[in-house]
């Protein structure tokens, strides 16, 4: 059971990484980056570092918000 979930998380990371590298639009890149981040969390929880998972879940979307500020300024 645990191996299936970890394999799914690894596939999620690889799909997010590939989509984030090869997509050209900045908004597409941000969405793919969120897929990558979602794949990282099961590995952190699997190690038992729940405090790190809580802190990272609170902090990681902030970078998306900051990059959106730069994208918004750039859009015509």
């Amino acid at each position: 059971m645990d191996e299936i979930v970890m394999a799914a998380a690894a596939i999620l990371i690889l799909i997010g990484m590939t989509a984030a590298i090869f997509s050209r639009d900045p908004f597409d890149k941000l969405i793919s980056l969120s897929i990558l981040i979602a794949g990282v969390f099961p590995f952190i929880v699997n190690r038992g570092l729940l405090d790190v998972a809580i802190a990272l879940a609170l902090i990681a979307p902030l970078s998306t918000v900051f990059i959106l500020m730069a994208c918004q300024r750039r859009a015509p």
Partner: protein, 83 residues
């Protein structure tokens, strides 16, 4: 997974190398694309740190990565305001 290494170590190295190549050669050769691509090797390094069970390093690196992104965005906005 591979020869006794933890799976997050191997996946983290793959993400780190691919993300570093994507930052070095961004496809639309643009600073915004480069800034977004910079998040990819950060999470690869996070996975490598995770395989060594360093909780404090993970917390510090996650916080500082977001802070540096904020500073880069501020610098880009100042540069675009001047230009």
């Amino acid at each position: 997974m591979i020869a006794g290494y933890a799976p997050e170590f191997v996946i983290g190295l793959v993400v780190l190398v691919a993300g570093a190549i994507a930052v070095a050669f961004p496809r639309p050769n643009d600073y915004l694309t480069r800034l977004i691509n910079l998040e990819i090797p950060a999470f690869g390094l996070l996975l490598v740190m995770l395989s060594y069970n360093e909780a404090l390093a993970l917390l510090t690196f996650g916080a500082i990565s977001v802070l540096s992104t904020f500073i880069y965005v501020r610098v880009i906005q100042k540069k675009e305001a001047v230009a």
